[in-house]
Symmetry: C5
Subunit: 87 residues, 5 copies
């Protein structure tokens, strides 16, 4: 998984029907040499802009969605505790 900060919402009115109802956010990696890499993630655990989160990618991301047929490859799986200084 990667450590990322949520930095904004992403709006796409025209999209795959199976994606209706999902919240898309822009995440930016904040740890290690991949810092600054951005990806669009789906959030299902009510994370917010500014939160540092754990992002799972690939086929494992679909495991968060309760339906293996959703075309999503990156999801927020956890929000890192604020007092967890180490990232």
């Amino acid at each position: 998984m990667v450590t990322a900060k949520l930095i904004g919402n992403v709006w796409a009115t025209r999209k795959a029907e199976s994606l209706n109802g999902f919240k898309f956010m822009m995440a930016e990696i904040i740890s290690g040499t991949r810092t600054g890499e951005r990806m669009i993630v789906v959030d299902t655990i009510s994370a917010g802009i500014g939160d540092r989160v754990i992002v799972t990618t690939g086929s494992s991301a679909r495991r968060m969605l309760g339906d293996d047929g959703i075309p999503v490859d990156a999801v927020v799986v956890g929000i890192i505790d604020e007092d967890c200084e180490f990232i």
Copy 2:
């Protein structure tokens, strides 16, 4: 998922039979440190050149195609709203 701009069509007369009928386009990543990376994507939601899109990659991409047997690893899953300034 990655944020990309569609920058052209890709034509391949000789290709896998299972790919007949699909529209291939060149996409270029436009956000974060991967900016400038290009990939060929399949579009099934009538996106056009110049559109900023959300691209899903890997096994999740096949979930857009209604047939898990298609040898495609990147698809357009959404078109980012024009008034979504943040990417």
Copy 3:
């Protein structure tokens, strides 16, 4: 998918039995910031050295081979038309 040029054949007499009969070629990415990255691909559509091709990677690559048990992660799925100037 990535855009690559086929630049040579790769011979491996000792290999997995399930790979017997497949043609292996060296491909080099020719578009975007990944230009110059090389990968070994399987070709099943009679592509040749010098051809510009579309390469599918990951689990989707196995979809070209008619047998999900083949340990291959990159295949040629199309040959880009010669008059397709844009890549």
Copy 4:
């Protein structure tokens, strides 16, 4: 797989229910050109901070967890022997 050093614990009180009980750690790649890349991994074999470990990523990572439904894409699969100087 990649060679990484475990450099800290990662705490996330709010996370997917299916992740309860798993131990998350920060790992940093320590071999080759990817040195310095960080990822969050799940450890199920009692590795500790400072250990050099073998990390498996992607769908193969879920094979460590006894449940294919867990949204995890990186796990520790082995602890490199201390007297294994070569990494």
Copy 5:
């Protein structure tokens, strides 16, 4: 697949039970812009240190192992012929 040279053995006494009996080796990519990237691979075809090999990664790697439950994401699938000068 990637072209790599096997440069050493990797020993991990403490590891997942399902990995017992497998031979782990360090491989270094030797072709293209990823040259110098290292990964730990499983070898099941009696490759040796110094051999130039074809490495398959991801879910396809598990196809070499006869058991889809093994947490391995990179395996040697072929040894490149010594007289194959082109890599």
